[in-house]
């Protein structure tokens, strides 16, 4: 069996279990729930909602047959969803179970500056085994997210991100577009080879540093931090090898993402968006990665209702929305064109898995009330063994 035949065979095997009539079953909907961020239940301590986040090294299976080592909050990618009401007092106890340094930055939130999670600027990094307590009042309203701000280039694409939703009992979007169901979609892009190499490199370095720490010999020069620029220059003059040379980090190349995920998975394991005729659904789009996405929905226009969590004065009707790194955008999809539709990145380089098309951030908008007979195929296709349109096909 050659490679092409092999791929075709596996493609058909996968497709055979994902026909629309199967997709429309109750079990398919139940399985699909696992493809969205899981809510993190708070402990109620007086008038404070207390959340616990822990970071560990974890193996993420992006698609069947491909795993890579990642960093994951509570062993989930994305991290669990923190959902609070506007004005809630929030406490997040963050435990670092790895041998690396981390912080948590609350992206888009009005937190006190010492809670902002930027190492050396607002706090010292949370070192291996340490705990750090973040406290803030939940504001403003809207779709936000949290992520690690230490070694951001590596740590974010390694999986250290999660959604943070601040709700309002009088939700302005719900008033305008009544809806019952909403979906959080967290986008990211990963260079799995960069992540692996850099994580290994950092782990090796940290083992050495922790040895010195235990002996009380770890100093600021070894940590590559200086009180003043003069102190830094003096250290360089004394033979200090700056951290920005490849002497002390690797690889020297910038990442080139080869996996594009939605909620930590790539097509065909991406979530489906279920809708019914006449129903409105809200999609909370978060770009926690470093690549721009141009998200296009087939067969519909949708309404952009929030930008960075902020309700826009006038919802904007469109069928393609640009989701830049760090942005959150909320859209409302109106169920007005029954069928099975794709919702994907129109920069189709990102609809690939390690260079193979299709893959990446390709999703399906599925009308639950679509009659199965509408998906039937002609006799030729039935002779191939297909009795309905396949949702998943891995080779063109």
């Amino acid at each position: 069996m050659n490679r092409r035949e092999f791929i075709q065979t596996t493609g058909l095997m996968s497709a055979s279990v994902l026909f629309p009539k199967v997709l429309l079953s109750n079990s398919a909907e139940s399985t699909n729930k696992d493809r969205f961020p899981k809510p993190l239940e708070p402990l109620i301590k007086g008038d404070v909602k207390e959340f616990h986040l822990a970071i560990d090294i974890y193996q993420q299976e992006v698609v069947p047959g491909f795993k890579f080592h990642t960093l994951a909050f509570n062993n989930q990618i994305p991290g669990p969803e923190i959902r609070v009401n506007k004005g809630d007092k929030v406490r997040v106890i963050f435990k670092n179970n790895t041998e690396l340094n981390h912080t948590i930055h609350w992206h888009g939130m009005y937190v006190p500056w010492r809670m902002d999670g930027v190492p050396y600027v607002t706090q010292m990094p949370v070192m291996p085994g340490q705990e750090f307590v973040y406290e803030f009042v939940a504001e403003p309203y809207g779709t936000h997210f949290y992520h690690c701000h230490w070694g951001t280039l590596l740590h974010m694409q390694s999986g250290m991100y999660g959604s943070l939703i601040v709700e309002d009992s009088d939700d302005p979007i719900k008033r305008q577009f009544p809806y019952e169901r909403e979906y959080t979609l967290v986008y990211s892009a990963h260079d799995s080879n960069f992540i692996r190499t850099e994580l290994n490199s950092m782990l090796e370095r940290m083992k050495e540093r922790m040895y010195l720490m235990k002996n009380g010999r770890f100093n600021k020069e070894r940590f590559a931090v200086f009180n003043t620029k003069d102190e830094f220059v003096e250290s360089v003059n004394n033979g200090y090898q700056p951290p920005y040379t490849v002497n002390r980090r690797s690889p020297s190349e910038l990442p080139q993402p080869n996996w594009f995920t939605v909620n930590g998975k790539s097509y065909p394991m991406t979530p489906n968006l279920f809708i019914k005729e006449g129903e409105n659904i809200r999609l909370r789009l978060i770009n926690a990665g470093g690549e721009e996405h141009s998200l296009h929905l087939h067969g519909h226009d949708f309404w952009q209702v929030c930008d960075d969590g902020v309700p826009v004065p006038q919802p904007w009707q469109m069928n393609t929305v640009r989701l830049s790194p760090g942005k959150t955008i909320d859209i409302i999809v109106e169920g007005n064109n029954r069928g099975l539709w794709t919702f994907h990145d129109h920069d189709t380089r990102k609809v690939t898995n390690n260079g193979l098309y299709p893959g990446g951030n390709l999703l399906a908008l599925v009308y639950e009330d679509l009659p199965a007979e509408e998906t039937k195929l002609d006799m030729m296709s039935q002779k191939l063994g297909l009795d309905a349109l396949p949702i998943v096909a891995l080779d063109e």
């Binding site: 090294i57 193996q59 080592h69 692996r196 290994n200 782990l203 090796e204 083992k207 040895y211 002390r248």
Partner: protein, 394 residues
């Protein structure tokens, strides 16, 4: 019949030619440029100075994921042998294929033979060969490569990431070179096994005192009909090795390594006049190195080592022994570039004088450039921290 077989082979090869788009292989490049000014002072006080670039070499490797969680690798490498080696300008010291999964490694082709279980901190790998390696009894001793490289068939099983059990067979080079046949080039003329406990290099700062302990046994099939009619028994030897961390400090690191080689020898060898007799005589030798590394800001800056070896030949009528002392220092001039000075002294007694002379002192001033580069990095190393401590990913 021959024609049909040939046609079938050709068809098979053609059918396996890649005509579909391929995933690019991982490409590894290892380069070592080594040049030194050598000054030798021998017994009669004559001196010589040469510009020596032997051991300079290139290694090129290609790796790819295979089906069912296996990996495949091809390595080809060449190095410049000593000027008087009779090996020509360039010697292909590595040409092998490797197939491996998490616990097993199959290696076939020309590669380093298991004549030693550990490496020592000398400028060149063969600087103390008589002490650090089992000597090849099929060789006429024209070069050191005959002892270090051979055609290898090896199966290794790795248990619990640290216990390596290897069985291996080799075809050691036989010199003077007989007319080449498939029998003389590739048939096994040695078999052996080894068992080594070794802490992975990546866990450098975790490991306690013991870094490596190993035992190996090699059995040269001297009694094979096509090898020699002279011997009716095989030639065995035992290797014991250990590396211990004296001070596993990231800034001031000290370790010590030692290896004992016991050549069980043939009973009837009571004098040494030729290289063949040297390799076949009963002997016991030890080589030990004490090493210090100063690591300024997470990179080695200076390495100092002192090594010594002693070897005796108990069966010889004349009391015979060899002794060698090696001291060296290497200083990092920049990324991948070192300068070094090595001084070595060797003294021989009894019959060994016939082969090596009375004594020799060598001083070497060297420059070394070495890189290890990777392209199309696709998967992790067996001994990466992620694979070792956070679950192996094929």
């Amino acid at each position: 019949m021959f024609k049909i077989k040939t046609i079938l082979i050709v068809l098979f090869v053609v059918s396996m030619t890649p005509i579909f788009p391929q995933v690019s292989p991982e490409i590894q490049l290892g380069v070592r440029g080594l040049t030194s000014i050598n000054m030798d002072i021998v017994t009669d006080n004559t001196t010589s100075a040469v510009n020596d670039f032997s051991d300079t070499g290139i290694l090129l490797g290609f790796r790819q994921k295979l089906y069912n969680q296996y990996r495949g690798q091809f390595v080809i490498g060449l190095q410049f042998p000593d000027a008087d080696s009779d090996l020509g300008q360039v010697f292909f010291h590595q040409t092998f294929l490797k197939v491996e999964n998490k616990s097993n490694i199959l290696k076939m082709g020309r590669s380093r033979v298991r004549s030693s279980l550990i490496e020592f901190p000398t400028l060149r790998d063969d600087d103390a060969l008589a002490f650090t390696d089992v000597l090849n009894p099929f060789s006429a001793g024209e070069n050191t490569e005959d002892n270090q490289f051979g055609n290898v068939l090896e199966l290794a099983h790795v248990h619990n990431q640290r216990y390596w059990f290897r069985i291996h067979g080799e075809h050691f080079t036989q010199t003077p070179i007989a007319p080449a046949t498939s029998e003389t080039d590739f048939s096994l003329n040695s078999v052996g096994f080894s068992f080594v406990y070794r802490v992975p290099e990546t866990e450098l700062w975790n490991r306690p005192v013991i870094q490596q302990v190993g035992i190996g046994y090699n059995n040269y099939l001297m009694d094979k009909s096509n090898v020699s009619n002279e011997y009716s028994e095989t030639l065995g030897n035992v290797i014991l090795s250990t590396i211990m961390n004296l001070r596993r400090d990231p800034v001031h690191f000290w370790d010590i390594r030692s290896q004992i080689i016991s050549n069980l020898g043939f009973d009837n060898i009571n004098e040494i006049a030729t290289y063949g007799e040297l390799t076949r005589a009963r002997s016991i030798g030890n080589f030990t190195s004490l090493r210090y590394i100063y690591r300024k800001l997470e990179r080695p800056t200076v390495q100092l080592s002192v090594s010594g070896g002693y070897k005796t030949y108990p069966d010889l009528t004349n009391t015979s022994s060899q002794m060698q002392v090696v001291g060296n220092i290497f200083y990092r001039l920049g990324e991948n570039f070192d300068a070094g000075v090595q001084v070595q002294y060797q003294s021989n007694k009894g019959d060994l004088i016939n082969i090596f002379g009375n004594e020799e002192t060598r001083v070497q001033f060297s420059l070394i450039y070495s890189i290890d580069q990777l392209w199309n990095n696709q998967f992790d190393d067996r001994e990466s921290l992620l694979n070792l401590e956070h679950g192996y990913i094929p």
